[in-house]
Symmetry: none
Subunit: 206 residues, 4 copies
DNA sequence: TATGAATGAGATTTCATTCAT
DNA sequence: AATGAATGAAATCTCATTCAT
């Protein structure tokens, strides 16, 4: 029996995979996961049907990969909130985060926010996507919890605040921001953060 | 000219439409809009194919109706935030709202939250659904703006707070809550509201 | 057992039948027999589905009736070619006939020529329509044979001409005329007859 | 840039197309265009549904191709009427033509005449088929006009005959011949030509 | 590895016809 | 006689996937 060296480099494989993934994202941003046909992905990728199936064994697997990429890309940008030397108050952290979400969307030339929306919907029917979303959310929550601890320490929040609860509430504003952007593209991180600031500003005693 | 009575009552027609809509929602909650087949809806509704198409001229039209119903049902419950005689602070308003969302889900025996998620995704591809979502969100925003004005008057918020910004930020927490519920069904209105309370509690001077 | 008198007059029945037939012809002229839906006929007739089926027991029966009407209307106009006291030469007979075909088309406000075309096609698949067409053609042929006999007698044709052959050939020009009209509505009876005249004019000896 | 050889030969594609076209013609000859189901064509062709739609993007497109083939096949045989060295009189030209139409029908083992009838009916509802018929008829007319010019020169027709009018009238006898054949398969080119001969034979002076 | 023609189950939709009223 | 809502078989077409090359 002959042991074959891989015919093409690992790097080549990775490039191909990415090519397909990018094509699929573009399609999903336009038509959603289930109105996107493999045919469309194949055309957009510039590869052949056979080639695509060499890298993803089924449409559902490709959907999972796309969902993972989109959710991960959003999540990935939210990891570095705590720079301990310079902890900002919550409204500034929120501003930084929403701004970064928009940047990610611009960086990939596909509207990643739209794909993330598709991924949430898909999580409601595919347990694998749900698990994946769960994990990403856990990561985001952990980052925000770290931030909350630091913010409490820095005196931006009450000393008795529960960092986990604060983290959950803060991070839960991001989907809303994304949805508002979809519905009204003029929605803007500054205004958005201003709302939180207003909520936190104490009422002057009457 | 002869005025003819309708052969079947308007009420009959409405009941039929509802029957189909309910069946479609149940299916959409399970499989999403585009993995739900008309066959499944027809089976679930107990009607014939022809009958379904008598009330909805295409699958896409049915999807729009379902999306509208789900988004509307959620929005509908959020209208009565301001009972002027007794304006509660934001964290309690949030608690009331998230609780009501869960109630709506229980009331309809379909998981309306899942369908709402599908509707958001659909808004990204069907302009008609986007328009519909836009309108519902405008309604919710208006209700929260009324609330914000009252809350400012009641001294729950700073006098110089912008009610519109507050409204947008507060209401934007609802999609996040729904998404968190999907990922982790133990997510709970109380804990959730506690996070906002903690965010709003002033840090004691050091 | 009770013997019932007919509830409505025979005349009423005939009017209803005609109403349906006319509606069906209009539809057939537009879309052909098999792309016309019963729904369209029902709408066009202003009656209800049930009513239509009271007069024609199936779509195929209605098609046969329409085919019969159209073919019959064309044939009916070609019966009076021989007015023995004044027998015209063939090119004038042809002119009279093609002109009359156009008149029939104008008289019914449906383009009866188009329906006749549908009927020919239908004859290729429905033996009942074939039989009907056969009969009408036999009638037309008989009329033309009478004409040929008279034309021979009147010296418009050679004394040894076979009236049956002449009749067949002359009458066979009518479908061609109708088809040419369909393709080129400027086709005109005068020009058309002129072609036959030219064919019949003897070449001068060289 | 890489020039790729086609995976399958052009010839292969053409053979497949023909396979489908032939199957469709057989079906159309039996049932007409609109009572022929795609299922029937698929079965008759021996291919799969997908394969058929790879070559014809819709039923209507297939119908157009079939109509074009049938009309074209009939028209194609009528091109070589003028052999200048030996121009025959009109009745012989007609005999040659009608005989050739029957040959075409026998050559294809489908009854092409029936399909041509379907095509005429279709021309009444599909402008694309009308255009196609228009073009074929123009071709036939041109051939007959060439013939008429030659026949006039050869002294078979009067010197002042209008070749265009003669051509139109002569060629218009073909649809009639075809329709008569449908209704009465014993209709025969010889008898048919005899009718024209009789029409052209001058009446002896009385 | 890569191709892309071919597959065929299954999706959506239509429409001739019926029948309770 | 007349209505028109309802039926459900059947039509057209799609599309995820395979496999010979």
């Amino acid at each position: 029996m002959i042991l074959r060296m891989p015919k093409v480099s690992e790097e080549h494989r990775a490039r191909r995979r990415d090519q397909i993934l990018t094509a699929a994202m573009r399609c999903a941003a336009r038509e959603g996961f289930h109105k996107t046909t493999m045919s469309a992905v194949i055309r957009e990728s510039g590869l052949s049907a056979g080639a695509v199936y060499l890298y993803f064994s089924s449409k559902q697997e490709l959907i999972r990969a796309v969902a993972g990429t989109a959710v991960g890309a959003v999540a990935g940008t939210l990891g570095a909130l705590t720079e301990p030397e310079n902890v900002v108050p919550p409204e500034q952290a929120l501003l930084a985060t929403t701004s970064r979400i928009l940047e990610v969307g611009r960086a990939h030339d596909v509207e990643i926010i739209r794909v993330a929306l598709q991924a949430w919907a898909e999580a409601a029917r595919d347990p694998a996507v749900l698990a994946l979303l769960h994990e990403e959310i856990a990561g985001i929550r952990a980052a925000w919890t770290d931030y909350a601890v630091a913010a409490i320490a820095a005196g931006h929040l009450a000393a008795d605040a529960d960092p986990v609860a604060v983290a959950r509430t803060l991070m839960s504003m991001l989907p809303g921001f994304m949805l508002l952007r979809l519905v009204d593209p003029s929605t803007d991180p500054e205004q958005y953060a201003a709302g939180l600031a207003a909520l936190r500003r104490p009422a002057s005693p009457r």
